[in-house]
Each structure stands twice: as C-alpha cells, then as structure tokens.
Symmetry: C2
Subunit: 312 residues, 2 copies
C-alpha cells in the first residue's frame, strides 16, 4: 500500500474535565498517521518548527511513518489550545498560533508521487488541491475540512470536493456545507458536490456513511473512559484509510469494515491525552474491540410468523 | 398476551419548523397503545375530560385497545402545548394544562389485574406504584419518567425503580437520575437502583440498552422526513413492549429485536403530526423498515490475516 497524508503537526494544550496537558503532541497528520500505521506504512507531509521535540520525530519514525515529507523550518511549531466542557463532543478553541503552519506550502518528495491512497487533512482547500496536483494516479482520495473553510473558502472547497472520493465531516459541518439541517438530506446534497461518498462523524453517537443510495450506520463504542476527544476524527480517518489501503478494494462491505475500524481507532484515541493510548495500542486490542462492536450492534431478523393472525 | 399501559391522554398543540397543529390527539398512553396495537391487544388506563372527541375513542377502539380502564370525568382533557426548533431532539413546553389529569388516580378494572406485561408511562411515581399494587403477578414491568419527577420526587421514583424490570429514559434523564455525565457510567448506576435493564433513548442517534454486562447499541433509522417528534419515546416503548408481549420471552436476542422494533415504530411516528402516520401504518411497512435497519447496521468480521506481517 502507499498511503499519503497531508495535514498539521501541532503542540496542543488541552483542558478537559479530567485534567490538562501543555504542549503535547497533536495535529491532524499526527493522529491520522499513528492510527493508520497499524495497517502499514504511511507517508507524511507536514511542517514543524525548530522547537519540535526530537522524541516526537522518533515516535513517528518508530511507527513506520515515512518522514521524507516532513519539513522543518525556522520558527515555532503550530500550537493549538482548547478546552472541552462536560459535553466532550465540542472543542472550544482558546488560542491558535499558526506559526510555521501559517504559510505551509506542501511539497511532495518525488518518492511520494505514486501514492495510491491520499488523505487530505483539514487544511486550506487550495493546498489540498496543490497536493492532489502532485500525485500521479491516486486510487482513492479522502478529505476532511472544518467550519472555517466552509465559511471562508467555500468555492475553493467545492473545487476540492469535485476531485475527492470521500469527505469526512461531522454533523455540524455537514449541515453548514449543505445548508440543510436534516442530516440525510445534507448528505445527499454533499454527494451532489462531487464525492462518491460521505462519512458523517457523530462523536459518541457513531457515524453515518452515504454513497449513492447505500447507507451504513455505525454505532460508536460506548466508552466509560472518554478522556480527551482531541484527534478522534483524524484517528477515525486514519483507521479508515489504513484499513482501506491494506485491503486494496473499495467494495461496499470493505468500506463498512473500514468505517468500523476507524471507529475503533477513534475510541482508543480518546481514552487518554494526546497520542498516549495509540502509542501503546496493539493489533489484538483493535481486533478485540472490533469484535465487541460486532456483538454490540448485532440483532436478528424478525420472526416470519410475527404478525400471523393479527389484524391489519 | 396481556399488555397494560397507564399514562396520559392529551390534546396537543404542536409547532415544528414544518407547521403547527392545534388540539390533536396525543399523550403517552395514546402513542404507546397505538404502537403496541400492531402486536396484539392493549389494555389502557387513563383519564379524559368531557371535551374529549368521540372520534379519538373510536380510533383507539378500532385498533383493539381495551378502554375499560379509560375514565371520563367532568372537566377538560389534559392539554400540552410545545414547540420544536430545528434541533428536533428537544421539546420546548409552552403550556401545560393538567385539567382532569391533575388528580388522576389510576384504577384498574378487575379484568386488568392479571396483566403480565405492564408499561408505566411518565406519571407521578407514586401513581406508578399504585398501578403495580393492583397487578397480581406481572411478568415484565417497564417504566418511563422525566426530569420533573427525577427532580421533585426522587425518593418515590427510586422506590418505583426497585419494582420494575426496565427503565426507558433519554440521555439527559439518565445523566440527571444517575448524577453522572458519562452515559455508560450513568446506565450502570441506574442498574444499581433496581431495574434489570435500562434503555437510553437518543432520538435521531438511536438507543443504548444495558442489562448487567450486556450492551446493545441500536442505530436509529436515518429519516429524511422527520416532522414532529412528539410521542417518539412512547411509540418506541409501545413497539418494544408490544413485540415483547407477543414474543413471550425475554432472552437477550428477543430484547434486541424488541428494541429495534421500538425504534421502527418511533421512526414512523415522527414522520407526520400526532398519530397520523401510525394510523395508516401496515405490518408490511414495519417489517420492511426493520429489514432496512438490518441492512443499515450490518458489517462483517475483520479478515483473519489482516495484520499478518505487520509490525506490533
């Protein structure tokens, strides 16, 4: 497999009802590539400043993340500061310091240009297309976005959407992008913008997948130990794309397993701060939680004679 | 089967973003018994005033709802006025006129006392126990409640919970009752209060079922046509209890099918105002949507060789 991700690498300061951490490893490309690394190598394109700790570089290297596309520049690393209230579904941004990420111009090393699977993390949609322009013949392209780009760069985002196979968004982003409150109608409208498929992430409630008339509803793993939701969406996308690239097919049953796998990776990611839980995660645990979800969501057909002899 | 419901019969005035209706048929016992009537007869205990239209009585009779327990008293029928904003998950109560429901003292006709399945709709927990006192040997008792009773009659509610097999609540009620934000922990605490099982209804997100260590996550049917959420919870409970009473067993697989059936009935109920959609619903449609949910939620096991040759 050849899976490419472009996105942010950040130093996050996070407050949740359960504690706080300062300047811990974060960023969309970091969560994505760590989650995807369970399924094979990942090629990363991102930028960090001079202050980026060497231990974080080692962490990614040791996971088989190809850092040929990691640019280290003069200046400070992107920093994000956020707070989660008891409703852990929504992040409240306290501070954003773009630093070297502010004028990030993603450049693909020559060896990356044959990448077949591409994940465009949540960056300026102009830059998302700039990355696509550098990939020769992608087989499956997915992208993420956020309210900021939907609002401020809508036309550019729509251009990007015409070139991707799948969009990952949350409920609120889907509604904003489609201008439609009902999530089913919103998904249909988004499919009209170009992507073959859209995944609507709903945090602790699971995810809905739409592709043509095909709909899949994945329940989330009911966590008693939700700790820090940062990176859940990118871990979801990483698990999804990692599984997809490993599988090499995009049949409906494969996409469904990819979504559940994404959900499993996200459920682990939020159990501890930063990448702490993904750092210790093992293949057996991924498989075990996937099996739990199979059990959790299983139900049988109705009895054939259920309504026999009843009126109506 | 012998399924008993006690609850309200109301004349509702409802505003949604899609329209409004004045003095239409509503109430927990009404939605419950209509939904349950697809699976067999239902015994109803409720009260209405002199102004209650004869056509509504006929509607229930024609569905096989036993009205021996329907008390008609001097005065006006219970009235509820509510509004739903674009977030259709939450009702904003504009006005409540208890009228004859205000001093409702449920009395079971002698013929109801052998009821085996009992649903205690959302009424004063003192009255819920008063009903239980009149049932000889119930096999399965479920109850509903709301923030008002959790707040103002907590001790009485806890007494009721010690006598029921299953509690139906929504997310917010579960959190309030348990004093715990995490829904998994909240469910566990509620099980400690007495019920063998708890269903946490999450509106458009589905439902979670907890019984001991057994957990089931049911996705909701993704509706493009959600119109009026009034009665969704009681239709859910009606579909659940109707199916359960029809089946005559409480094995885990039966309870799971009952939950999905409840979800199907709720999904139809909200497609139109009042009881309008349930009034025209057919067995084949219930079966059809159940099958759609089976498809919607289905995914396969992970490949046995998925992680072969990968590090970690």
């Amino acid at each position: 497999m050849s899976l490419l991700v472009v996105g942010s690498i950040a130093l996050d300061s996070v407050e949740t009802p359960f504690g706080r951490r300062e300047d811990v490893l974060g960023g969309s490309a970091t969560y994505f590539s760590t989650a995807a690394s369970f399924f094979g190598p990942v090629r990363l394109v991102a930028t960090v400043g001079e202050d980026f700790p060497a231990e974080h570089v080692r962490f990614l290297e040791e996971r088989g993340v190809d850092l040929a596309g990691l640019e280290r520049r003069a200046g400070r690393t992107f920093r994000w500061k956020g707070r989660y209230a008891f409703d852990l579904n929504t992040a409240h941004t306290l501070e954003t310091q773009l630093n070297v990420f502010g004028d990030f111009q993603p450049e693909l090393p020559a060896a990356y240009r044959d990448s077949r699977y591409v994940f465009l993390g949540n960056i300026d949609p102009d830059l998302q297309r700039r990355v696509l322009d550098q990939v020769k013949a992608p087989r499956f392209v997915a992208c993420d976005t956020m309210n900021f780009w939907i609002d401020s760069k809508r036309e550019s985002l729509l251009k990007t959407l015409r070139r991707v196979d799948m969009l990952f968004v949350n409920d609120a982003e889907a509604r904003q992008l489609a201008g439609e409150h009902n999530v089913v109608k919103a998904a249909r409208r988004i499919l009209g913008f170009g992507p073959r498929a859209v995944v609507i992430k709903r945090g602790e409630y699971g995810a809905l997948f739409f592709a043509g008339d095909h709909v899949f509803s994945a329940c989330a793993y009911p966590l008693a130990s939700l700790f820090d939701p940062t990176g859940a969406g990118d871990s979801f996308a990483g698990g999804f794309m990692g599984y997809l690239a490993r599988s090499g097919r995009e049949a409906p049953d494969v996409l469904r397993r990819a979504i559940v796998t994404g959900s499993v990776l996200a459920s682990f990611a939020v159990e501890q701060f930063s990448l702490d839980r993904l750092a210790t995660l093992a293949h057996d645990e991924i498989r075990g939680r996937y099996r739990e979800l199979l059990q959790l969501a299983h139900f049988d057909e109705l009895e054939a004679d259920l309504f026999d002899g009843l009126r109506r």
